[in-house]
């Protein structure tokens, strides 16, 4: 039985009809359709990528990047007023005193915490939801690492920097590609079950923009497998790592020298605020998918609201490439309940093909993500060759049944069990029918500027993972962000320990939030009205009809009358 409505059947028949010819071509070699030239790529990006729409960006009026153009939604967030008033807090008696404070319990934060514990120092790991409720838990496809004989970190470097349109910080790409094999081995030692053949060779797949098979995987639970192992390892150090859950940080705290020395946490369950003092602070709060930039659906977890970016910016940290958003080409477009969910790139890595309403393969399946996404939008808008859904969306087919024909029966079922299960829950059998897809908001390409030791422009503050900028330039390739948070989470842990070791004997730092006062003043002086506050901590999905019936001066989230 088909999982799609009657009116889509004609188009589905066309997809099935063109499949044998497409299959034949795919069997002969990988280039089923010619890849675009750099000029063609640029053209489709300029015309169709959401980043290039006229009002996609605007200059930010305050802070260290003042005058620079950024994604409009991000500018609105940075131009929001701090959500707390520094005068309300006594910072002189911290609730936690530790060596290293780590903000964000995703993959990057956990990796850093383990390093701190292994160095014999203490850490507080503060996070918004539970440890592991993060984007890291969700990644499916894989992690890049040049482990094959005909591959090398050098080729990996070239792929990453070309994919990022040559805007990447070379020092960071070097660190990432050179560390990659070592990280793969380190994770294996922790007990991550990489996919291997019977002789122990790591299975590798290709991904968009890679010139070799380089994607290591753990079935299609790659992120979950790594994240649950890292989380478990964090919990194996109860004497060193204090986990503080459901307690997002809302502002950073600085010391007398203006260096990062802690954070103010907001306990979402009890409403109290807690002060953490530390010698070094690592920020690893991940991305911003839940900002729903340009109204796009997102693949990100519930807590991906750019809090870290806002806090660090308030404290004077420079950001990089905040004008570029990654839309993943293949978000689910049907059925409605799963719109925006990620259909992993691995489907195309295994030979899946994007096909239009007429059954035509219209783009090289593994262009860099931004190019692929822009092509899908072109197909659906200008060319009108997309498929409309009953709720007024549009999408293109991703021909998945071809994967089994190409690689042998059962390939999809063993390589993509999560995907198969998820679609089955909503009535689609991806082994026999294609999926309907459309670009979805996926990844924060830019972020806090760092160097290879994860130092930010604010002394004492280290940043790792999706929150940082520069590693991927203006476009990240698949598999490089799992790698990113592991490599730089590891480095951040070590760098933070170094600093903490040098500072252990200093008298306790006097904490303050003068930077928050100064930021507020700057906003006022720029004439920006106080209509919104940040960081937002959680996205707002409640029915406005219900919110209308709240007492006007009651903030149900803060649990306070305002």
């Amino acid at each position: 039985m088909s999982g799609y409505p009657e009116y889509m059947q004609a188009s589905l028949k066309k997809v099935a009809a063109t499949r044998p010819a497409r299959l034949e071509k795919a069997r002969e070699g990988r280039e089923v359709v010619k890849a675009m030239t750099l000029a063609e790529r640029e053209d489709v990006l300029n015309k169709f990528h959401p980043d290039y729409l006229p009002d996609a960006r605007k200059p930010v009026r305050v802070g260290p990047n003042k005058g620079e153009e950024m994604t409009s939604r991000v500018v609105d967030l940075l131009e929001s007023y701090p959500r707390i008033n520094p005068d309300d807090f006594d910072l002189s008696e911290p609730d936690y005193d530790t060596d290293v404070l780590i903000i964000g319990g995703g993959g990057g934060g956990c990796m850093a915490a383990i390093q701190v514990a292994n160095a014999g120092m203490n850490a507080v790991l503060a996070t918004k939801l539970r440890v592991g409720d993060s984007n890291s838990m969700m990644s499916q496809g894989g992690m890049q690492a040049a482990v094959n004989p005909h591959d090398s970190p050098t080729i990996h470097y070239l792929d990453a920097i070309g994919g990022g349109h040559f805007d990447n910080n070379p020092e960071l790409v070097q660190a990432m590609t050179i560390d990659a094999p070592r990280i793969a081995a380190y994770l294996e030692e922790l007990g991550v079950m990489w996919d291997k053949d019977s002789e122990g060779r790591l299975m590798t797949e290709s991904g968009g923009g890679t010139s070799r098979r380089r994607m290591l995987s753990c079935r299609d639970y790659t992120g979950a497998e790594i994240q649950r192992v890292l989380r478990d390892e964090v919990k194996n150090h109860p004497d060193k790592i204090t986990i503080v859950e459901y307690s997002p940080a809302v502002e950073l705290l600085l010391d007398e020298a203006g260096e990062a020395a802690g954070a103010l946490l907001y306990n979402m369950e009890t409403g109290e605020y807690n002060v953490v003092r530390a010698h070094s602070v690592i920020i690893s709060t991940g991305g911003y998918g839940r900002l729903h930039i340009k109204g796009f659906a997102t693949t990100n977890h519930y807590g991906a609201t750019a809090d870290g970016l806002v806090m660090a910016y308030h404290a004077g940290t420079k950001l990089l490439y905040m004008d570029s958003v990654q839309f993943h080409p293949t978000g689910a477009a049907y059925p409605e309940q799963i719109v925006g969910f990620l259909i992993t790139e691995k489907v195309r890595g295994l030979g899946g093909q994007p096909v239009n309403k007429e059954g035509e393969l219209f783009v090289f399946p593994l262009e860099p993500r931004d190019v692929e996404a822009a092509s899908f939008i072109r197909e659906s808008t200008e060319r009108s060759l997309g498929i409309e859904t009953p709720t007024g969306r549009v999408g293109v087919w991703l021909d998945s049944p071809i994967v089994n024909l190409l690689n042998g029966p059962g390939t999809i079922q063993t390589a993509l069990p999560a995907m198969v299960r998820q679609l089955k829950r909503f009535g689609i059998d991806m082994t026999s029918e294609p999926m309907l897809v459309y670009p979805t908001l996926h990844y924060q390409n830019g972020g806090i500027e760092i160097n290879a030791d994860t130092e930010t422009t604010l002394a004492g503050l280290y940043a790792a993972g999706e929150i940082s900028g520069g590693v991927h330039g203006r476009n990240r390739l698949m598999g490089n962000s799992i790698l990113d948070y592991n490599v730089f989470g590891y480095r951040a842990g070590h760098a933070a320990v170094q600093r903490a070791k040098a500072l252990v004997d200093r008298p306790p730092a006097k904490l303050h939030m003068d930077h928050v006062r100064a930021y507020r003043k700057e906003l006022e002086e720029a004439g920006i009205p106080e209509t919104s506050h940040a960081p937002i901590l959680l996205p707002e999905y409640r029915n406005p009809e219900v919110l209308k019936k709240h007492r006007k001066d009651y903030d149900p989230f803060l649990g306070e009358f305002i």
Partner: protein
């Protein structure tokens, strides 16, 4: 737009300042779908009316809940949204993930945002990949009465009882394989009459398997040895020294080679 277009539009702190921009998807066709039917569901005993195609999470948001726990990924990967429910006229206590389960008329539900669980503290480098390692930390594994309640409760369709049996036989690799898709939602443990925490036992079995039982990759070991000599640093530094033009040339001229090994 949001998870579901028929959920309320996103309103955030910045709402008023947002420029009205239509996403390309929405530009094309207006939403002409008929208004959704509302059905009654009981959330912790209290009745609410929610759209019939919504998942439990989006339905709860629709009626005004704001989640501060019991939600994470919203896509079936994190296990934060474990939920138990009963359907009208049915004695069975059912389990599911709130982000993946569509509401049903007269569903009575409660969430279980947290499962108190025994979690062993160990140093993986000092353990042997054998039954004794698990026995030492989780002796309760032998109390399994093979009732299969865990398997029935698992939203991931995992053969939970079978992996526990595999552990008991000392076959850690099979246990690792069978439990691989576990998202640690805790529903099996809540239902277990032998009071064990299956998901933590499975995690230990997998970590032992990943570290000790899977064969080592010689390619990886070779690469690490090569790297100790530092040859790639030099190659990359050469690339770093190129002008943007030179680098672009190297990039566009790079060969594609998709051989498996």
């Amino acid at each position: 737009m949001v998870d579901n277009p028929r959920t309320p539009p996103i309103i955030t702190a910045m709402e008023e300042k947002e420029v009205e921009v239509k996403a390309p998807a929405q530009e094309k066709v207006p939403d002409e779908s008929p208004k959704e039917n509302l059905i009654p569901v009981f959330i912790m005993g209290k009745r609410f009316f929610v759209p019939e195609s919504f998942t439990i999470i989006t339905a709860m948001e629709y009626v005004g809940f704001q989640f501060k726990n019991a939600v994470g990924c919203r896509e079936g990967f994190c296990g934060a949204c474990a939920t138990i429910y009963r359907l009208e006229g049915d004695y069975k206590l059912r389990t599911g993930l709130a982000c993946q389960t569509v509401v049903e008329p007269n569903m009575h539900l409660a969430q279980i945002p947290f499962t108190p669980a025994v979690k062993a503290v160990y140093d993986i480098s000092k353990l042997k990949p054998e039954l004794v390692s698990i026995q030492r930390y989780y002796p309760e594994v032998f109390r399994c009465v093979a009732c299969n309640s865990c398997t029935k409760a698992c939203p991931q369709e995992i053969e939970v009882m079978d992996y526990i049996q595999a552990v008991k036989r000392g076959d850690l690799e099979t246990a690792a394989d069978l439990s691989f898709d576990c998202i640690m939602c805790g529903l099996c443990a809540v239902r277990c009459p032998a009071e064990m925490v299956q998901f933590n036992i499975a995690l230990l079995a997998r970590r032992l398997t990943g570290r000790y039982l899977l064969p080592r990759s010689h390619h990886l070991e070779k690469r690490l040895a090569e790297q100790r000599e530092g040859s790639y640093e030099k190659d990359i530094e050469e690339l770093m020294g190129l002008s943007r033009k030179g680098l672009t040339k190297r990039y566009t001229e790079r060969d594609l080679d998709f051989e498996v090994f």
